[in-house]
Symmetry: C2
Subunit: 295 residues, 2 copies
Amino acid sequence: MTKTDTATPGLAYLETRRLEVDALLDKYLPAESVYPRRLHQAMRYSVLAGGKRIRPILMITAYEAFGGTASDIIEPAACAVEMIHTYSLIHDDLPCMDDDELRRGLPTLHVKFDEACAVLAGDALHDLAFELLAHSGSARAVAELARAIGTAGMIGGQFADVAAEGKQVTLDEITYIHAHKTGALIRACLRIGAILANVDEQTLERLTQYGEKIGFAFQIIDDILDVEGDQKELGKKIGSDCKNLKATYPGTVGLEQSRTDAERIIEEAVAISREFDLKDNYFEQIARFIGWRKK
Amino acid sequence: MTKTDTATPGLAYLETRRLEVDALLDKYLPAESVYPRRLHQAMRYSVLAGGKRIRPILMITAYEAFGGTASDIIEPAACAVEMIHTYSLIHDDLPCMDDDELRRGLPTLHVKFDEACAVLAGDALHDLAFELLAHSGSARAVAELARAIGTAGMIGGQFADVAAEGKQVTLDEITYIHAHKTGALIRACLRIGAILANVDEQTLERLTQYGEKIGFAFQIIDDILDVEGDQKELGKKIGSDCKNLKATYPGTVGLEQSRTDAERIIEEAVAISREFDLKDNYFEQIARFIGWRKK
C-alpha cells in the first residue's frame, strides 16, 4: 500500500473488510469438487473475480454498528448480497442484454464458459443467496432482499436501463434507473444488517436515507468514471455505456454538475451518519470513500 | 366435462383447485398497469398461459391435510412455487438452452417478447416467489425452497440435462436428472405445505417419500407422453426431446418397462398416503391422476 493510499478516506477499513468477505465467499460457495462441478466452477469464477465487496461490507457495518454479534447470522447474509450482485452482473453481461465481453479485466462468464452456463450460474447464485439469508431465521430479511431486487427494485431498474438504450433520457428517468438498478440493493444491505441486529424503526428509517444517498452518489460516480476512465484502470471496455448510448447522469446534466451533485449528496450522507453517535463512525468512512473512489 | 372425464381419478378435485390457483396467480402477479409494464406483461403472459398447477395444488393439499387453515399464508406460498416452475420453463426455453419456440400451444416468451425480456421476467418470477413465500414468516420454508431449486436440486438437474444432450445416458444418470430437475421441487411443495402447517417430523419424512415417488412417476410419464404424444395434444413440438437427443427414461429402459415402473411407483405412493389416515385422501387421488394423465 502506497503512502497516498493510506491517506484515502475509509480505505484501510474497507480493505480489511474486503479480505474478510473474500474469505467468507470462498467458504460459502459450493466447492468445485462438488457435482455439478462445471456449474460450481462457473459460480466461483464470477464471484471470486474480485470487486470492492461494498454491499456485504455495508451490511456487516450496519449489523455491528447497531449491536449485532452473531457471526453465523451475518456471515452468510453478507455473502448472500454479494452473490445477488454477481448474479445481476452475469445476466446483465449476456449477449441479449449489455453484451459485454470483459468484466474486472477478465472474460465475462458466457465468454469464458458458455451462455447456458452463464444463465444457470446466475440463477444458482440468485437462489443460493436466499438459502444463505434464510439461515438468519429472519423471514423479514428475506422479504426485504426480494423486494429490493425485484421489479420494484433492481430488475425494474435494469429493465428500464435496457429499454432506454439509444434514447435521450430525462433527469427523472436516469434518477429512476439509478435508484432502482443500484440504489435499491445498497439500501437493502444496510437495512438487512440493521434488521438482523434488531434496530429500532426510527434508526432504520434514518439509515435508509443514508443508504439512498450513498447509493445515488455511488452510481453518479460510476458514470463519471465511465466517461473519464481508461481501459487499463477500470478493467472493462471503456465507454461501453457511451457506445450503447446508455442512460448516464453526466450524459444528462454534464460532468461538472455531476461532480458537484455527488459531493453534496456525500456530505448529506455523512451528516446523517453522525446522528447515530457511534464510537467508530464507519458509515462516514464508507461515504467518503465512495465520494473519493477512482475505480 | 364429458362422462369419461368425471371417471378420471382425482380430476374433479384437481380441476376445482386449478381454477382456485389460476385466480390466486392473477391476484399475486403485479398488474400490467404497474411500471415496468412490459416486464409485468411478460411475467403474466408466461404464468397465466395455463398449466396443471400441480405444484401449488400439492402444497395446498399438504397444508390443509395436516391442519393448516390460514389462507393469507398458504395462498402466496402456493403462488410462489408456480412462479418458480414458470421461471424455470422460461429460462429452459431460451435459445442458449433448449431453444423451444412453443410452450402450451403458445409462442415461448423470448419469441413473443424478446430474449432480454425473457431473462429478466424469469429472474423477476424467481425473485417474486421468495418475496411471496417470505410472507409466511417461515425462514425454514424459504430455505426449503431455495435448497430444492439450487445446484443440489432443480438447477443441478437442468445443468446435467443440458450437459447430457446428444450423449447416451445410463439409468443412474437419467434418474439423477429426473430426481433433481423435476422431483426436488415437487417434493419441496409437499414439505413446505406440511411445514407451514407445523406437521411432526415423522409425518414430514413419510410425506417426503410420497413426494419422491410421485415426482419420479410424473417425469417418467412426461417422457412416455413425449414419445407417444402428438403435437396437437401436447401443445409443444413433438419429439423435441428426441430431436435434441435429450436424456429420457423410455429412451433408456424402453416404453414397456417405463409404464410398468411408473405404475409400481404410483402404487407405492398410494400406500404411503393411506398411512396418514386422512378423512379425504387427496394424496391418493393426485397420485392416481399422475399415473393416469394423458397430457
